[in-house]
């Protein structure tokens, strides 16, 4: 019940924040209407990083304690994170085309880092899918989750240097829109969107976590030769 309230709240909040971002705020002087994409783009990016942080912490937790809860949280973080990362890249490309004149900007370290981030966690989801036994799957996935978390800062440094050592930034990067004296209403629209997206993120995480726990129980029961739900329907074999 509480989850349903959260879901409805998230829906209303996203609708409200979107309306405000579309009609409540003025368009940017330089970038025009395209700048409104930034509210979705930046909010998604922050939540993507939060998701992968959750996965890394839950992966360590699994390796230390081996609780099914840790594995379910790690899976929820990775899957929701992949969703938000894909949304970040998609929104970024939609914004980049009118503002930068190109969908893909190799010199932007954030873009290249984010693309690799997506590849890292798609790999994480793949190794999960290809392992049958729940505890083995959780261990393998936890190792991949931890390596990915170690790799992300190195990736970021390397692409920043890669560009930075050759030449300075050619185009505006998304964060410089906020950092120079951004009008208060722009900041307000972004914070509103971030709050609304966070509610939606929480709702997705809770539901994915519950589904993962049910999956785990079903797999464990099947392994022990019992399926929940079938127990009552099928009479026990006579001794």
């Amino acid at each position: 019940m509480a989850t349903r309230v959260l879901g409805i709240g998230a829906l209303v909040a996203v609708a409200g924040a979107t309306t405000f971002a579309l009609v409540g705020v003025a368009a940017d002087l330089n970038q025009g209407e395209a700048q409104r994409i930034m509210y979705i783009h930046v909010a998604s990016a922050w939540l993507a990083y939060l998701s992968f942080g959750v996965t890394a912490a839950a992966s360590v937790w699994w390796l230390v304690r081996r609780g099914p809860r840790a594995d379910a949280i790690a899976l929820a973080g990775a899957e929701v994170g992949v969703l938000f990362t894909a949304a970040t890249i998609w929104a970024g490309m939609m914004w980049g085309r009118p503002v930068w004149g190109t969908y893909w900007q190799w010199e932007d370290p954030r873009l290249t880092t984010t693309a690799l981030l997506l590849a890292l966690y798609v790999g994480y989801l793949l190794i999960r899918r290809l392992t049958d036994e729940p505890a083995r799957r959780a261990t393998r996935a936890a190792v991949v989750g931890i390596v990915a978390a170690i790799d992300i800062p190195i990736v970021h440094f390397s692409v920043v240097w890669w560009r930075g050592l050759h030449q300075g930034p050619t185009f505006m990067s998304p964060d410089t829109i906020l950092n120079p004296p951004a009008p208060g209403q722009f900041v307000a629209a972004l914070l509103l969107m971030l709050g609304a997206f966070s509610l939606a993120w929480l709702w997705l995480m809770v539901n994915r976590y519950r589904l993962a726990r049910l999956d785990w129980e079903a797999e464990e029961s099947a392994r022990r030769g019992r399926l929940p739900g079938l127990v009552a329907a099928v009479p026990a074999p006579r001794p």
Binding site: L130, T139, R140, V147, I154
Partner: protein, 229 residues
């Protein structure tokens, strides 16, 4: 015998076993050498016969050949051991897991160095790279790149060796993780060949060393979990 010396002795024994099996014709890595050479040849056809553009692409192609063949090499080092039924026995040895990891990683490093030793002269011949003055630096960069790749490649090969789809999964997992290594190694190689005009070589070498240490640490701590299944 101190703990460190004991770890090293075990690691050396495991690496020597892999090397001996390879030299006696197991063909885990030897066939990947041919693949690396072929890759360089095919890249040439893909890019066209223009000497200048081939030389410009040289550092990138060198490392792509090393990494793409390296994925196969580290994978097969585990795979053949698994098929021989030796991987289970390796996991049963009552020795520290980190020492087993180190041994397998040294085997992987030997394979990667062999790849580098083949690919570097081939790049010189095929892409007309002028390496004479930069040779000591290039050897260092190839050594650091090979170490980092062997460190993470061994961990992921051990993690995926029991999976049915390991041939596809290993590159899918490995390539995004080695992206910073590729970037640093290619940049260091290119800057060495150009005489380091921007003074950036040191930064790339530091990044490679940092990467190597991070991945060796991750492998030493978690490789045992892959064995214990």
């Amino acid at each position: 015998m101190t703990a460190v010396a004991r770890h090293l002795a075990i690691a050396r024994a495991i690496a020597a076993k892999d090397l001996r099996a390879e030299l006696r014709g197991r063909q885990a890595v030897t066939s990947t050498l041919f693949l690396a050479a072929l890759t360089l040849l095919i890249f040439g056809f893909a890019l066209g016969p223009d000497r200048a553009s081939l030389a410009a692409a040289g550092p990138g192609l060198l490392w792509l050949a090393v990494i793409l063949s390296g994925v196969l090499a580290v994978g097969r080092l585990h795979q053949l051991e698994m098929e021989d039924g030796a991987f289970e026995l390796l996991a049963l040895y009552p020795v520290p897991r980190a020492a087993i990891y180190l041994g397998k990683a040294i085997g992987g490093l030997a394979a990667m160095l062999a790849l580098g030793a083949l690919v570097l002269p081939l790049t010189v011949v095929l892409y007309a790279l002028d390496v004479a003055s930069a040779l000591p630096g290039l050897v260092l960069v190839i050594g650091l790149g090979a170490l980092g790749f062997a460190a993470i490649g061994t961990l992921y090969a051990g993690l995926t060796v029991r999976l049915r789809a390991r041939e596809v999964l290993l590159p899918l997992l490995l390539l995004p993780v080695v992206a910073p290594l590729l970037l640093a190694a290619v940049s260091a190689t290119a800057s060495l060949l150009a005489g380091d005009p921007l003074g950036e070589l040191g930064a790339w070498l530091q990044l490679l060393i940092g990467y190597d240490m991070a991945m060796l640490l991750a492998g030493g701590l978690t490789y045992g979990l892959a064995l214990e299944e």
